[in-house]
């Protein structure tokens, strides 16, 4: 049987939806763990977060995982679109009077809508931070009284910046000391600071918080649903899977949402 024939089956689509969904749940945990460093204020937080970001964006293993994540988001979203369209068609004529609230949860009935909101958010979020960090040659560089920093976290006294092959490098005494350390911490703080970003800071804080609400609803159903899709349904474990799912859907988005709220409120 050809590959497309495997994917044409409804159950094969369920497996793929569940596997990509659970992978994205793991991604969320990793992403959150790193971002929580933004709660550390001042220079200490700046150094910690920027070194972490530098590691994440230069380590080949991490970069591979990052690209796999983007591809799997696309697979998950495209498959979701195919399923939503097929499922609408499967109904045919709509009911004149229907009470879906009587037999299914709100979160389970809104997977497509919350997912769409998530997709929009993911694109906006990548444009906000990932794209400039990777493709903007003039991205701000970490500096202190001791001068500009190179990617290895070392400050170079009396240094200056110069573009080499589209990447910013630190030069001290006319010598290239290596790639410059990008100041993602400050860029993120400024993004959510009304002093630096005006009303956009508030708009973005609201957008980020609403998007995390979408994550909460998507995972309130999605987390445990994925186990069912993978054929894991057993009296002994259903309780713990459901509970873990609800806690996951509560804690992860709340922690994520707390970051822009904190950055906004501490900088008003």
């Amino acid at each position: 049987m050809s590959k497309s024939a495997i994917l044409s089956s409804s159950i094969a689509k369920k497996w793929l939806m569940a596997l990509t969904g659970l992978f994205l749940c793991l991604f969320l945990v990793g992403h959150l763990a790193g971002n929580l460093q933004l709660f550390i204020d001042g220079w200490e937080g700046t150094v910690m977060f920027n070194n972490y970001a530098e590691f994440m964006s230069s380590n080949p293993a991490i970069q591979t995982i990052a690209w796999i994540t983007k591809v799997l988001i696309a697979v998950h979203a495209i498959l979701a679109l195919v399923l939503v369209v097929k499922n609408r068609r499967a109904r045919g004529t709509k009911y004149t009077y229907n009470r879906p609230d009587k037999n299914a949860s709100f979160s389970s009935r809104t997977m497509g809508w919350m997912g769409t909101l998530l997709l929009v958010f993911i694109v906006v979020h990548l444009i906000n931070f990932w794209a400039p960090m990777h493709y903007d040659g003039n991205f701000p560089i970490q500096m202190s009284d001791e001068g500009y920093y190179t990617a290895d976290g070392i400050a170079h006294a009396g240094s200056s910046l110069q573009m080499v092959n589209g990447k910013m490098h630190v030069f001290s005494g006319g010598v290239d000391s290596g790639r410059a350390l990008r100041d993602l911490a400050q860029v993120t703080r400024d993004f959510f600071s009304p002093k630096e970003n005006g009303t956009m800071a508030l708009a973005m804080t609201i957008l980020y918080v609403i998007s995390m609400l979408a994550v909460a609803f998507h995972l309130a159903h999605g987390f445990s649903s994925a186990f069912q899709s993978l054929g894991i349904n057993h009296k002994k474990y259903n309780g713990i899977i459901k509970l873990t799912g609800k806690l996951f859907a509560l804690i992860v988005p709340v922690a994520f949402a707390a970051i822009p709220i904190y950055l906004y409120l501490t900088q008003v």
């Binding site: 049987m1 159950i11 399923l83 097929k86 499922n87 109904r91 004149t96 009587k102 159903h221 349904n233």
Partner: protein, 255 residues
Amino acid sequence: MSNQAGMNLTLKVWRQKDGNSKGKIETYKLADISEHMSFLEMLDVLNEQLISEGKEPVAFDHDCREGICGSCSMHINGEPHGPDRGVTTCQLHMRKFKDGDTIYVEPFRAKAFPVIKDLVVDRSAFDRIIQAGGFVSVNTSGNSQDANAIPIPKAEADKAFDAATCIGCGACVASCKNASAMLFVSAKVSQFALLPQGQVEGKERVLNMVQQMDDEGFGNCTNTGACEVECPKGISLENIARMNREFLKAKIHKE
């Protein structure tokens, strides 16, 4: 007999001449309906009233009127088989409604269940899925075997029996926002997959039944669980998980 007056009801019933015509909701008033009537008896009263007015009676499917044939398919006030749990329409009693209520009655909606007339839909897609499941090999070798010759753990036998109680009513499809038939198909897969006798043709069975289910145009399960809530026989979502496992096992072995 109590001498209390019965209920006055407003019925909003889907009327459709045949599969090719456009249907619409018609409104009917019914007076003095006893709370002891079943929903189908109430419809019988409506039809007598319509006939006496020289109008076409409402066509609806029914047979056993005791909850075992699964033919009395209708969507009542937004739910298949109405607001009660664990019952078919023929077992739904009018005491579940109040005087003055408006009740919507529509056919089960699914592309794979085309309307034949009024509330009657064609559920032969289910028959074709069952057919796709094929046969079960039984060695008769001239004599009939003792029914208990193969030991089966009690728990497994019970689960197989629970799955086998599915009456093919289609409420799972009607309630599912995706019009998915997975609860029905998984019950039919499970009743054999759980028993040793079902193993011989097991892999073919699940692959063929799922293929037929997809070909009939049913939707994809998203685990909302509406089917389990509305199923008159309490068929569990566990069966869908089992079908998903059986399907993967069969795919891996077959290719």
